[in-house]
Chain length 267, copies 4
C-alpha cells in the first residue's frame, strides 16, 4: 500500500498561508460565517448542515450539556483540586465517566432503533413503525432486557427535554424514522406495563442525532462535546468557589474505616 | 460552616419536572432559543452573550477546532485503535495533550496581556498601550523570555486566523484592550527584531476571549471545547478509515531497536 | 441508611500519627517488609500473598509491562509532546487505549474460562476440563465467535510468555483450573482447526490472575498497573530522545489531504 | 535525518519468538527472575537495581500507594459509576488529579534539592549541606516561598513514612545527598520558624528517588505508578461496595442551588 493510500485525512490541513477544514478555507469561508455548531456538524459529516439541521443539532447539544452536580462533574471538580494547573486533566476526568451508565444511553437508543429500522427498509409507514415497535417491545420484555431510552431516575413522569425536542424536530421538518419509532416504542411499552416510563432526554437526543444522519457509534461523541461545555462552566465555578476540596474534607471527616485487624498472612 | 454554605452550585439543577441551567429553564428558555455557543458562554459567564459577543465567541471556537493531524489528534486516533468501545477515552486522550506547548498559548497570551493591562488601569489610551507594549517587549527580550502569542512553526509570515479575528472583533465592536495591546506588542517586537513574528491563532484567540471578559485560567477550557469538536470529526473518519492501526504498523515496521546487551547488573 | 453504613472503606485511612492500609500500619508493618507487588495484591485482595502467589503475581506484572512502541505507548509519547509539564496526562492517555482490543484480552479470557468453570462445580477433574473445553470450542466455532486468549499478530507460533508462565505456575503450585482449562481449550481448538493458534501472553496472564483468586472485572486493572511501569520507562526515554514530536512531523510531512472541494452546502 | 536516527527506542521490541525489554529477554531473563519493582526500575533507568536499591525503591512505592479516600480516589470511583465497563477510564481519572497540589510535591522537593546540590559540586560535606540548607531556607523565607517537602495537613507533627524511609535508606547504604540535604533543610526551617514543619512522605520519597539516580521530571511518574496500585484496590472495593453512586446521591440530596433568576440578557 503506498503512503498515499494509508496516511490520508479529509478533516484538516494547513499550508503556510491557509488552514483548511473539510475542504473549506477556515479564515475566509468558516470563521464569522458558520457557527461552532455548524462547524462541529461539518467536521463529523463532511457537509455544512441546513438551517433546520443546525437548529435541531443545536437543541440536542444544548439539551445534553449539563445536568447539575453529576458524578462526572464531581470527578472533574475533584481532579481540579489536585491539578489546577492542568485543566485539560479535569475536563478529561469529567468525560471519562461518560460510559454505558450515563451518556451511553444516547448511543444505545440509536443502536436499538437503528437495528429495528434496518429490518423495515426505506421509508417505513406509521403502521409499519408501530408494528415493529410492538414486536421489539415484546421481544425485549420476553428476554428480560431493558429498553434503552425509557425511564429516568429523577424525571419519572416526563423528561422536560423530550416534548421540546419533538416539537423542534417537527418545526424543522426533521422528525424522522428514529424519532418516530421511539415514540411508538414508548407507547408499546406503556400498553404492556404497569408502570409507564417516559422517553428520557438522552434517548430522544440519540434518536434525533440518528435522524440527522450520524452513525450510532459516533453519537456518544456529541454527548461528550455537549458535556465539555458543562464541564467548563463547572470549572469556572470551581475556580471561584471550590466544592472539590470541601467535598473531600467532608468525606474524610465522615468516612468510617472498616478494615479488620489482620490475622496471620504469611505462609 | 453549614451545608448550605459549602455544597452549593449556580450551574445546574433538576426537579422531577424541570432542568435548570444558570437559573434558566432548559426546555422552555434555552432549547431552540439559544445556540450551543451561547449556552457555553452562559454556563461559564452566568449570562447570555449579546449577538456580537456570540458572533466573536463562535469565531474563536471555529478558529481553534482543528489543525489537521496534530499530536493530540494522533493520540486520540491511536487510543481509539485499542478501545473503540470507549470513545470517551479517545477524546480524553486527545485533550490531554492540550498543555503548555500547544493550547497553553491561548492562556499564556491572555495572562501576559492581562498582567500588563492591570498596571495601566481602566480604559488605557492607544499611546498608553503602545508604551506599555514597548516596555513589555524590552523586558522580555532583556530577560530572554519568549513573548507568548507570537510566531508559528507553519504560518511563519501570517497566521490566516489572526487578521480575520481582528476584522470580526472590529465589526462586532469588541476589539478591546487585550486585542489592542497584542497588536502593539507584535509591532514593538518587529521593531526590535531581525525576524518579524506574526501573531498566531492561539494568541489572538486568547486575547479575544479575555476581551470577552473570561479570566485567563479558564481560557484553555474553551480551546479544549473547540478541540473536542475536531476530535469527534477525526474519530468519525477513524471509524471509516483507520489511521491509528496503520500508523502503529508503520512505526513497528520501521522502528530501530537500540538497546545494548546488558553487562552484569546485579550486586 | 446511616452514614456509617454507606460512607465506609476498608482500603486506607490515616490519623495524625499513622497511615493504615487494609488494617496494617504502613510505616511499621509494610514499608521495608512487603514488596510493591505484595502491597498491590494486599490492596486488591485484602490479604498479603504467600511467597508463591507473590512470585506468580510478579511474573504476570513483569509479563504485561511492555511490548515496545504499541499504539498506547505512542499515544502517551505524543501527549507528552504537548503537555510535558503534566506527565499524569501522558500516562493517563497511554492507559486509555487499554480497552477491548489490547488489554481487554486479559479480562475476556478470564471471563470465558470462569463461565465454563462455574458450570463444572468445584475441583473439576482433568477429564472434566477437557470435555468442557471441547464443548466450549465447539459452541464458539458454531457461533462464529473468536476464542479469547488464542492467537497473536506477532507471535504466530508461540508467545514466549506462555510456556514461561505455565512453568512458574507449576513451580509455585498455583497451576489452577483456569490455567488448566485454557490449555485444554487451546488443544481442542488445534484439533478442530486448520491453523493452530498459540495461547497469547494476555490470555495466560488472565488465567493466572483468575487462579490467584481475582474476579474477572478487576483483571484489566492489573494489566494497566503493569503498563504504567512501561509507560514511565517510555516517558523517561521520551524526555531524552523525543519520538513524539518527530513522529508528528513525519506524519505532517507525508499525510495526503483528500478533502474534496465543497459543492453548494447551504439551503 | 535517516529513519534509524529518529525512530528508535531502547525500551522494548519483539520478534515472532522473543520479547525484549531494555535488551533483556523477557521470558527467560526477567519473568520469574526479577520482581515487578526491579522491572520498573530497569524500564526507567536501563539497568537492574542492586538488592539495596530495589529494597529502597520498593519502600518508596509502598509508601506512596494509598492515602485513603483522597480527591483522586473519589474521582476514580465516581468515574467507575458512569463507565464500569471501561476501568481504564476510572484509573486514568484517578491519576489525572496527580498534579502540583498532591503528587507534585515528590517532584518539587527533588527539584528544589537538586538545584541546591548542583551548586555544591560532587560529594558535599555535612557542613556544606548544612550551610547550603540554611542559605536556601533564608532565601525562600525572604521571598515568601514555601519550601517543598515540609508540612502535611494531617500529619502535623511527624509523617510516619519519613523516619521509616530514612531508616531504610541508612540500612541499604543509600542515604545520599538529597535525603541528607532535606534533613538539614527541615532543621534550618525549624530553627527560624515559630512552627516546626515535619518532612512529609511525598518529600522524603522525592529525595529518595533522586538519590536513586532518577531525574526530577520523571519522579511524578513513580508516584503515579504507586497510586495505580491504590486505585486498583479502591476499584476492587467499589465493585463490591459502591461509594461513587451513593456519594453522588448524597451530594444531589444536599446541594443548594444558588442561581439567581436572570435579568434581561439580550441586547
Amino acid at each position: 500500500m503506498s503512503e498515499q493510500e494509508w496516511l490520508r485525512t479529509a478533516i484538516g490541513a494547513s499550508t503556510p498561508d491557509t488552514i483548511t477544514i473539510r475542504g473549506r478555507d477556515l479564515a475566509n469561508d468558516l470563521m464569522g460565517k458558520v457557527s461552532f455548531t455548524e462547524l462541529a456538524f461539518l467536521l463529523a459529516a463532511g457537509r455544512i448542515p441546513s438551517t433546520g439541521e443546525a437548529r435541531l443539532f443545536d437543541a440536542v447539544l444544548v439539551a445534553l450539556a449539563d445536568h447539575g452536580l453529576t458524578p462526572t462533574v464531581l470527578a472533574a471538580r475533584l481532579t481540579y483540586t489536585g491539578a489546577p494547573e492542568a485543566i485539560q486533566g479535569a475536563i478529561a476526568a469529567g468525560l471519562l465517566g461518560g460510559g454505558t451508565v450515563f451518556l451511553g444511553v444516547v448511543e444505545d437508543t440509536a443502536r436499538f432503533l437503528h437495528s429495528i429500522l434496518e429490518r423495515l427498509g426505506e421509508a417505513p409507514s406509521e403502521d409499519g413503525l408501530q408494528a415493529a415497535a410492538e414486536e421489539a417491545v415484546r421481544e425485549a420484555r420476553a428476554a428480560g432486557r431493558r429498553i434503552p431510552g425509557l425511564g429516568h431516575p429523577i424525571h419519572k413522569v416526563e423528561d422536560p427535554r423530550t416534548p421540546r425536542l419533538y416539537t423542534l424536530a417537527a418545526e424543522t421538518g426533521l422528525l424522522g424514522p428514529h424519532l418516530g419509532l421511539l415514540r411508538h416504542v414508548a407507547e408499546a411499552h406503556r400498553a404492556r406495563s404497569a408502570k409507564a416510563l417516559p422517553i428520557n432526554g438522552a434517548g430522544v437526543a440519540g434518536a434525533a442525532l440518528a435522524d440527522l444522519g450520524f452513525p450510532p457509534p459516533l453519537l456518544r461523541g456529541f454527548a461528550l462535546l455537549a458535556r465539555t461545555a458543562g464541564l467548563v462552566g463547572h470549572l469556572a465555578e470551581e475556580m471561584a468557589d471550590p466544592i472539590g476540596l470541601r467535598l473531600y474534607q467532608e468525606v474524610d471527616r465522615r468516612a468510617v474505616y472498616t478494615a479488620e485487624p489482620p490475622g496471620i498472612d504469611r505462609d
